[in-house]
Amino acid sequence: MSGHVFHPGHHELHGITVVVETSGDTTYVGRFDKEDDERAYLKDVGVHQAGTQSWEEYLDRTMLYGVKVEHRDLVVARGEITSVRKLTEVARS
């Protein structure tokens, strides 16, 4: 079953853990599922709110210990999203 994919034909980020930054105080980290014209759909999502733990510390801890899931499924309006990047790429930068 090496390389076997159960769900072909999805978005290129499908199944990838991403950092979704928004125009507000909230950053989401979770597995990208899909998107449509209006929304992005994430799974197993952790949340960072500005004003609490620093953004960098939150991402460092998430890299080390994994995503602390607060929402099994989350829908984010595309109009609120300012960037979607892979967690591993954000953490390296």
């Binding site: 090496s2 199944g15 210990y65 994994g66």
Partner: protein, 142 residues
């Protein structure tokens, strides 16, 4: 829960590597309640996005000169209770993900390869992460 017949080839793939699969809480406890030495635990998964690379990467890493004393697997989404119990031995700080791999030394996690460190990466890169951890934490295989 997936169709067991669909998942069996993935179990077979790990067993062909000589990995001992733990399917019950009792089996997990028997191994880890008082574990000494080094052990790698693969939290197996049906997800082709990541597990489809994780298993062959592990197979390649296990051909390295230095490897853990024992290698085990639990199957997330299939053997749920055994997987949950195995994760309890990883400690509270580590969040569950699958596939993932934990390297333990005398019962403590010394390296965790989370799902986000597997997905989208090449087999060679994942294998290199594993062999680097083996070199750092495991003795030479006799």
């Amino acid at each position: 829960m997936y169709d067991p017949a669909l998942v069996q080839p993935m179990r077979d793939e790990t067993m062909a590597m000589g990995i001992e699969e733990l399917t019950t809480v009792a089996e997990v406890d028997a191994v880890f309640s008082n574990h000494s030495g080094t052990a790698l635990v693969l939290v197996n998964s049906v997800c082709g996005c990541a597990a489809g690379t994780a298993r062959p990467a592990l197979r390649q890493a296990l051909s390295h000169d230095v490897t853990p004393g024992k290698v085990y697997s639990v199957f997330a989404g299939m053997d749920t209770e055994a997987t949950q119990r195995a994760r309890s031995y990883f400690g509270e700080d580590f969040q569950p993900s699958s596939p993932s791999m934990a390297l333990l030394s005398d019962g403590d996690v010394v390296m965790m390869l989370h799902r986000h460190m597997i997905e989208g990466r090449s087999l060679e890169d994942i294998s290199a992460d594993l062999t680097a951890a083996f070199d750092k934490h495991c003795g030479t295989r006799v």
